[in-house]
């Protein structure tokens, strides 16, 4: 590639940044020229975030088109990472100036001094920096390497670890599997939990005992869930098939049939997280039934009508919250269950993204590819968390 190409990249990025921020500034009636200048700087910096460490390798002439496309994508993401926060920051500063009453909640009764809070927060900040922020950055660096533990050397491979994922059938397969298993855990888990919570939330005799008996699996670990269901689903001596065989005359290859094995993982996971979901639905229903008591308008509606037209919508914030936490559970915590129950098999039918990372990075000792897969999963989690924060906003409005 030519020496001017990097410069060209940043100039274009600066232009895009300038136009964007100038437009945004105009909308909040601040000088577009100022916006243009800040935007140009932010765009240039943003486009360099990934390209400088990568040394513009995605645009080298011997690289394929997909690498170049990926490079453009990285420039875009880098720009978004700088330009959008700058935009948000300036907007909030401007808004606060215009409307000084905003913000500053819970400031009444504050203690004096600024050193003390720093001391209180220091351990948390240090630990988070060293053990979360630093490894996150290092994961990005690792993802550009071909590296093995115990090897003589490591090689810089640009974005190969990412672009190779696109054509990796196993990886795409594990993407689909993760979505499928997660969706099933969420739908089944929440439906069952809601049904049970409808029975258990009421102030009937012995309610506390029922709740304890329903919620305790929360304290069981994913590993133990895997171990116990390994016994229940075992082809030899497995009691589930024994029961199915006696009652329906069928046997299911829970651990060796690729269509059944994901269900083994799903059932074990639903069982393990059921208590948690029931707990939240009971809390939600108690609030809802209070609301219903207050709302006279629904008199005369029958149980089903009341449930679908009133209860379910009122529960939606909590449902949304549980969808997110169960998705997170399905993404990460099922690892222990899968490792003991199916080991990702058969036919990779239970090899979720997280399990795949472990297989690639630890079992196969291919650190760079595992790091790249981690980052893709990371992006998914960020997406989920953004949704979670949106909904947590709803929850605050609804609850308090």
């Amino acid at each position: 590639m030519t020496a001017q190409a990097p410069l060209l990249i940043h100039v274009i990025a600066a232009l895009i940044g300038a136009v964007y921020l100038a437009w945004r500034f105009q909308r909040i009636q601040v000088s577009p020229a100022l916006g243009g200048m800040i935007g140009a700087a932010a765009g240039a910096v943003g486009s360099a975030i990934f390209m400088l460490p990568l040394n513009y390798c995605t645009f080298e002439s011997e690289r394929s088109l997909i690498d170049a496309v990926f490079g453009v994508l990285l420039i875009g993401i880098g720009m978004a990472l700088v330009v959008l926060p700058v935009d948000a920051l300036i907007r909030s500063v401007v808004m606060r100036r215009r409307n000084p009453n905003m913000g500053g909640t819970a400031q009444a009764g504050a203690f004096k001094g600024w050193l003390l809070p720093i001391v209180f927060l220091a351990p948390t900040l240090i630990v988070l920096t060293l053990f979360l922020y630093y490894p996150s950055l290092d994961t990005f660096r690792l993802s550009t390497l071909l590296a093995r533990l115990g090897a003589r050397r490591t090689l810089f491979v640009c974005v190969d670890n990412f672009t190779s994922l696109v054509s990796d059938g196993d990886y795409l397969n594990s993407f689909v599997i993760t979505i499928f298993i997660s969706a099933a855990i969420v739908v089944l888990g929440l439906a069952l939990a809601l049904g049970i919570a409808l029975l258990a939330y009421q102030p009937i005799k012995g309610a506390r005992i029922y709740r304890t008996l329903l919620i305790w699996p929360y304290a069981i670990s994913p590993v133990v869930a895997g171990v116990i269901f390994l016994l229940l689903f075992n082809p030899t001596g497995g009691i589930v098939n024994y029961a199915l065989d006696n009652v329906f005359g069928i046997k299911i290859g829970w651990l060796n049939d690729p269509t059944a094995a994901p269900w083994a993982v799903i059932i074990a996971s639903v069982w393990k997280s059921l208590g948690y979901n029931i707990l939240f639905y009971i809390a939600g229903l108690q609030n809802v039934s209070k609301d219903i008591r207050e709302a006279a308008s629904i008199d005369g509606a029958n149980v089903a009508q009341r449930f679908f037209s009133v209860v379910l919508p009122l529960l939606s914030p909590i449902t949304f919250f549980l969808v997110i936490t169960n998705m997170t559970y399905a993404f990460f915590e099922t690892f222990g269950t899968i490792d003991y129950l199916t080991g990702g098999g058969p036919l990779n039918s239970t090899s979720t993204l997280m399990y795949n990372i472990y297989e690639v990075g630890i079992t196969n000792n291919d650190l760079g590819k595992a790091a790249a897969q981690s980052i893709v999963l990371f992006a998914l989690v960020i997406g989920l968390t953004v949704v979670q924060f949106r909904t947590s906003g709803n929850r605050v409005n609804y609850g308090a």
């Binding site: 071909l146 115990g150 082809p235 001596g237 098999g345 058969p346 036919l347």
Partner: protein, 448 residues
Amino acid sequence: MRKSFLFVVLAAMLALAVIPAFAQETVDVPVWIAFTDENRLGWAQDRAVEYNEMFPQYNVTVEGYANYEELFASTALAAEQGTLPAVVQYFEVATQDARDSGYFKPIAEAIGDRTDINGIAVNFDDFVGPVREYYTIDGVFTSMPWNTSSAIYFSNMTILDAAGVDTPPTTWAEIDAACELVMALETAPEYCWTFPNHGWFFEQWIAQQDEQFANNGNGREERATEVSINNDGSVALLTFLDEQLAKGYLYYSGAQGGDSWGTVDQAFSTQQVAMAAYSSSDTATYTNVGTDNGFEVVASFLPYNEVTGWTGNLIGGASLWLVDGLSTEVEDGALGFLLSINSTENAAAWHQLTGYIAVTTSANELLTEQGWFEENPNFSVAADQLAQSTITTATSGAIIGAFPSIRSVVTQAVDTALLTDEPVADVLAAAQEDANTVLEEYNLLNAE
């Protein structure tokens, strides 16, 4: 008065605290093995206790890992931390990785020209020929043989007899024929036979057909740069397995690699199947499970492809590797333990307990003297199979980098061939490509 009493008490407590510190000044010798069962882990731990009693200056501790694959991964992790133990049990496919990583020191090099370690005699010549050769790499006796085995075949003769099959099958065609009779029984088992989907069996079955696993003389002349798992032998193998599955003869548990062993044990011991390919490592378990549950178990050579004939089988099993960079005391403690574990009595007892090949000539003589092999014919099958094998490049086994990862590519290919309708040749071609990528990347990082 009171003060001096207090002083005496304090002094006494101090002395008590110090004395054991002197007395316990032992050298820790941690040993990691890939067994967790009472027979094997328990046996090794008992040997460690004996050894520690004999040599109080050492404290050998034996820790068990769930399987070879996990131990292999843990070793790489521990090496990264600098927390390797003194001895690691590494399986045969990890040889190239062991060679490249520099984690280990050849046994012969550590012993040097000493003829004994703390009075335990060093006698490499006592190891039986094929075993000594197998563990000699680049002309140096490298790792200590311990659990050496071969892949053999176990038949539930009670079922076979009922079906009118007098002798265990020796070829694939005979398996098929026997299964037809077995599955026609009124009291037919659920399936006819099974095997662990472990890379080792794929390797055994293609070596029988004299097919190499990798280039450059199976990686023995020069560093292997390409695998050759897509060959006539492997196509024939997967086609055969696929047909057996389709006929309902073959039971496939879906478990791969280290997880697959247990599923076969379960199926055979509960008579869910009549026959099983397995490692000779469990000859004792397999024989006893029959005795305990009222059926007769006969071990035989691993059946081969009658079209190509039988060239020979691979040695398998793991060996004990000495970690490099130990202090002299720890190294000598470890060497002494490694030698004592293969003493005539121990080697013989280990064989009787499990079915692993008795690795020394003296142990074999002792066993023969006791009439062991005559009374227990199942126990000589693996050694006979190796002795009758023709040594070729193929039957010597492959030495290639990242072999454990390549094995999982192979077991996945077997998995795919059995569980999908994809043509066997396509599956193998894809697997070969994947395996070559793995190997290429490994060599990029490790080749000189």
